[in-house]
């Protein structure tokens, strides 16, 4: 039984190294993105919670399976309790860079970190 390293041709290495490079570049770029400032959560596809990342707080987000507990602290946003069967979302935090995601898909909850000033945060103004 040959090990993969014995089988791999020069072309294989080229492809592998090229793709690895792209992936690592992407990861480096992600790590370099500035910290976001706004936590936005969608429940079932609709925005259900928006908060300042700098303001520590805890909130329960309702999904079809129950409450997902979101904690915002100095480190970022984390999910500390969720009724999802595998509870993967609890291991995904803390999220603090713009674009970071915490996804509790069985409970249809998606938490993302955004830039606060990307657009007017409302459709109409009540005055």
């Amino acid at each position: 039984m040959n090990s993969p390293w014995q089988i791999m041709t020069r072309g294989d290495w080229l492809v592998t190294v090229l793709l690895l490079g792209i992936a690592l570049l992407g990861i480096g770029w992600l790590a370099a993105t500035p910290p976001g400032s706004r936590v936005e959560a969608t429940c079932g596809g609709q925005t259900c919670f928006v908060a300042d990342l700098e303001q520590p707080q805890e909130v329960d987000l309702a999904g079809p399976l129950g409450m997902t507990h979101l904690v915002i602290d100095g480190q970022g946003a984390r999910i500390t309790a969720s009724p999802c069967p595998l509870q993967i979302c609890m291991t995904m935090g803390p999220a603090r860079h713009t674009g970071d995601l915490l996804a509790c898909v069985p409970n249809r909850i998606l938490v993302s970190i955004e830039h606060a000033e990307d657009e007017t945060p409302y459709d109409l103004l009540s005055r």
Partner: protein, 194 residues
């Protein structure tokens, strides 16, 4: 499977069908096994089932590879009860992208690429296709692009694993008399790397 009275071409075609059916069955099993694995972003899978597509590609040809991958996605979705669900579209997108890239690469590069290289490229395409479709149809959130680099890294590693397993399988199955007698087109079974 030795029936001398039969026309060798028809025998070869029948053997091909039988082997493809076996590959598809194996691919479906792996596909379902994968679907049961936990994953940080649901529906995004390493694409180990692409290994069977790879085997079909190396032992037969591009047509065989397409048959295995598309049938695998269709039957897998039926068995998992998620035909036309988001998971189905992601699996389909991944399979289409991966198969297209693998068939084209195998055709262009010939023996300059072993199954491992083709598999790595296929796995990366698989992930890219999935993220593309997921962004377009399911999560419609630009943050989704952020999962691409880590998944790509993962895909390269899982692609090496898949390609290696596929190579072992190709070597094993390739010794079967069926593949010794099958008249293959240029650059098919000969591409195997010992």
């Amino acid at each position: 499977m030795t029936c001398s009275a039969v026309d060798p071409k028809r025998l070869a075609a029948a053997r091909r069908r039988v082997f493809l059916a076996l590959f598809i069955a194996l691919a479906v099993s792996v596909h379902i096994l994968e679907a049961l694995l936990p994953s940080p972003i649901p529906w995004l899978r390493p694409g180990l089932a692409n290994g069977m597509t790879l085997v079909a590609l190396y032992l037969y040809d591009g047509h065989a590879a397409w048959s295995v991958s598309l049938t695998r996605v269709g039957i897998g979705a039926l068995l998992l009860g998620r035909l036309f669900s988001p998971g189905f579209w992601l699996a389909l997108a991944g399979a289409l992208a991966a198969t297209a890239v693998m068939v084209l690469l195998h055709c262009w590069a010939g023996r300059r690429l072993s199954p491992i290289g083709v598999s790595v490229a296929g796995a990366a395409s698989h992930v890219c296709g999935q993220v593309l479709i997921a962004r377009w149809l399911i999560l419609r959130h630009d943050a989704l692009w952020q999962v691409l680099p880590p998944l790509l890294l993962f895909a390269v590693l899982s692609g090496i694993l898949t390609g290696w397993l596929a190579t072992l399988l190709i070597d094993q199955i390739g010794q079967h008399p069926a593949f010794k007698t099958v008249p293959t087109g240029p650059g098919k079974t000969e591409d195997r790397v010992a």
